[in-house]
């Protein structure tokens, strides 16, 4: 198996369905909270990408070969199909008529499949490629202050699927550079293009970086920035004497455990899914990274930069906490747990069932 384009691999059926099934179960087993992208939407997209949903209309899915997740083409596919299908269904014959004609010509068999697929899509909630939301938390007109929650769900350039949630307060006196607009009744909030652009571009960086960047703005008080990240995922699926794997996975602290499991894999598929959180907030008690794959930003600061970094941090009274949980096939549970301990972390490792 080889890359078909930049950071792109094409997973063909039946491997594709095995992969989508495992990924869906892993996401459910991870017990994701609201820090992460919505599970129901992901479930919908993964289901729509499977052969049982599209009835053979596609031959597989495209993955990001670094993160092991469906890439932009795959995320876009059901979204575009749902829109096109909604408009097309009116012109289709009913299901029974199309089924009755499916042996007459190839086009009727395809349209019978498409009708089922399009109708299913209308019932599913699908994961967006990107989605911004701004929610008003509190409005104090007498003090010209308003508190907001800004949420961004993004399929990141790194191939990860993530969500950024920011709690901030804005004071009206400096609304010449305002980040959030309120409607005339002071009830509905919407982010300005400036806020949208800034959050979007900084979503790929640490929560700490975005916290500082926003806090630097006059009249803006940031309380919390948190990121929930899906990925990277690893899998190894036996097929026709080979093992289909993520082609550009990065070497990390779990490498040894993964390699060992692959050597004794046999005919069973393997998966190691990880889900990271990264929080920069005023109420974090201890600054720490419990993420074996992502150290704190301060750990990577060079000595010449350290003094400036320390000064910057002293200006803002927040702390950072990073964490990661894993969902792995049972044969990997002990190995991954030990790998985490070896780098000073203690992580939740859930077994992947089914």
């Amino acid at each position: 198996m080889a890359l078909v384009a930049l950071h792109t691999q094409h997973l063909l059926e039946p491997v594709s369905s095995t992969y989508l099934g495992m990924l869906g179960r892993a996401i459910r087993a991870a017990r994701l909270n609201k820090t992460f992208p919505e599970r129901r939407q992901l479930d919908g997209t993964l289901r729509a990408l499977g052969a049982q949903a599209h009835h053979g209309l596609y031959d597989g899915v495209y993955l990001d070969s670094r993160s092991g997740l469906p890439n932009m083409a795959s995320f876009t596919r059901p979204l575009a199909d749902r829109g096109v299908g909604e408009r097309a269904l009116d012109g289709y014959e009913d299901q029974a008529a199309l089924d009755a004609k499916r042996d007459e010509a190839e086009v009727f068999a395809r349209m019978a499949a498409k009708r089922r697929y399009f109708e299913l899509l209308q019932t599913l909630t699908l994961a967006p490629v990107d989605e911004h939301r701004v929610l008003l938390r509190r409005h104090e007109p007498e003090s010209s202050r308003a508190s907001f929650r800004v949420e961004l769900t993004k399929l990141d350039g790194s191939g990860a699927y993530l969500r950024v949630v920011i709690d901030l307060t804005q004071t009206a006196s400096v609304w010449s550079h305002k980040l959030v607009d309120l409607d005339t009744k002071g009830e509905v909030a919407s982010g300005t293009e400036a806020l949208r652009g800034m959050v979007y571009r900084f979503a790929s960086y640490d929560a700490e970086t975005l916290f500082i960047r926003l806090h630097e703005l006059e009249g803006v008080h940031v309380e919390r920035v948190q990121r929930g990240i899906l990925g990277p995922m690893r899998f190894s699926i036996p097929h026709e004497g080979e093992h289909v794997t993520v082609l550009e996975s990065r070497t990390d602290a779990t490498e040894g455990a993964w390699s060992a499991a692959c050597q004794t894999q046999g005919d069973s598929p393997l998966m190691m899914a990880s889900f990271a959180t990264d929080v920069a907030a005023l109420d974090v008690r201890e600054e720490k990274s419990n993420d074996p794959l992502a150290p704190l930003l301060s750990d990577g600061i060079r000595d010449v930069e350290r003094a400036r970094y320390v000064t910057l941090r002293e200006r803002y009274p927040f702390r950072v906490y990073k964490d990661r949980k894993f969902v792995v096939t049972p044969s990997l549970v002990d190995g991954v747990r030990q790998a985490c301990v070896a780098v000073g972390c203690k992580n939740l490792v859930y077994p992947l069932r089914g």
């Binding site: 078909v4 495209y62 990001d64 932009m72 083409a73 575009a80 012109g91 990107d130 300005t192 800034m198």
Partner: protein
């Protein structure tokens, strides 16, 4: 007794036409019904032509936007090079003009554009199946018309045979009447039989004309249906070819577009950005090209086809009018025509020439 030498059984013969009986009105209704299928397909093609114009317009706008991004990033759109170009491009984006804090993400813009492009290509591809379905429906229609043509031809042949038999009987009665006294009882009996034969001849000669006319009109209908099938098939193949190519390019370019968007946001790798935009523009161009070409195709073919159908309508109406007019003409003329046609048919089949008057 008069007519003892004559075989009058033919007057009691049950002539078996297949299908429902025929009349000018029923023929008109049946042809109208068959035409309605064709009309629906032509209407679909007209709708497709209008939709094509919409798609072409929106695709052209999107390609224009992509080109503009490309030119600005390339630095060719402004004298100040890349940075001036980038600044100017961003200044055109809504909401950014006077905001010093930040600019909108290029990655996000490109991803939105990608989704619009993917949807457009899928919309175009959806038409391919619609066209293929129409094509199949019309093949079924052709089968049905063929059955009608065979039925009409068979009935025409049955009517022709019976018309000739009746004509021969009338002639024989004429000859018999020459041998008996005019005004006698036998002569009156023979006249009565001849009137019966003439009445039947009138009815079956009308049928002969109607079945013949129906056969010709169903054949014309079939030819036009074939033209429609050909138009739809060619169009479907063209669109299918372009959309498949555009779809593959978009699938392959998604990671590149996203990567370059991220890079643009980080203000690096600008030439790569230009290259990526070119890949996407190329894909959109392919789609735009098919729309343009199908426009030409429509202009060239659909209009001709519609003209043909209009002509066909005129011809059909004329034939029907002629029939109505024809029915008003004197009986003998119609009978003569029917007999002539029946004789011609028989001669073409290589049968023994029918007895004519004076034989």
């Amino acid at each position: 007794m008069a007519g003892e030498k004559l075989n009058l059984d033919i007057l009691q013969k049950d002539v078996a036409y297949s299908g429902e009986g025929i009349s000018v009105k029923s023929l008109e209704e049946n042809i109208h019904e068959e035409r309605s299928v064709q009309n629906v397909k032509v209407e679909e093609l007209k709708g497709l032509r209008e939709r094509n114009v919409e798609i072409q317009k929106s695709l052209a706008e999107e390609v224009g936007k992509l080109r503009k991004f490309g030119d600005y990033i390339d630095g060719t759109a402004t004298k100040g090079g890349f940075w001036a170009g980038m600044k100017e491009m961003l200044s055109h984006l809504p909401g950014l003009k006077n905001i010093a804090i930040s600019q909108r993400s290029i990655e996000e813009l490109l991803k939105q554009q990608y989704q619009i492009s993917a949807t457009r290509v899928k919309e175009a591809a959806e038409y391919v199946d619609t066209l293929k379905q129409s094509e199949q429906d019309l093949y079924t229609e052709i089968d049905r018309i063929n059955e009608k043509i065979v039925e009409m031809a068979t009935n025409e042949s049955v009517a022709a045979d019976h018309v000739l038999e009746l004509k021969a009987l009338i002639d024989r009665i004429d000859a018999e009447m020459q041998t008996i006294e005019a005004g006698s009882v036998d002569a009156r009996e023979l006249e009565g039989q001849q009137d019966k034969a003439r009445a039947q001849l009138a009815m079956h000669s009308a049928n002969l004309q109607l079945y013949s006319s129906a056969e010709d009109r169903y054949a014309s209908l079939k030819n036009n249906t074939r033209k429609l099938v050909q138009t739809i098939r060619n169009l479907g193949q063209d669109i299918g070819q372009y959309t498949t190519a555009a779809s593959i390019k978009l699938d392959m370019a998604s990671a590149q577009i996203q990567a370059i968007g991220t890079a643009a946001d980080a203000s690096v790798v600008m030439l790569e950005l230009k290259k990526s935009l070119d890949v996407m523009t190329e894909s959109m161009n392919a789609t735009t090209q098919f729309v343009s070409e199908t426009q030409v195709f429509f202009r060239k073919n659909l209009d001709d086809l519609l003209n043909d159908l209009d002509t066909f309508d005129e011809t059909t109406t004329k034939v029907l009018d002629d029939n109505i007019e024809f029915s008003k003409q004197i009986e003998e003329e119609r009978i003569e025509k029917a007999i002539a046609k029946a004789l011609k048919n028989r001669a073409q089949r290589g049968d023994t020439p029918a007895p004519t008057e004076g034989d």
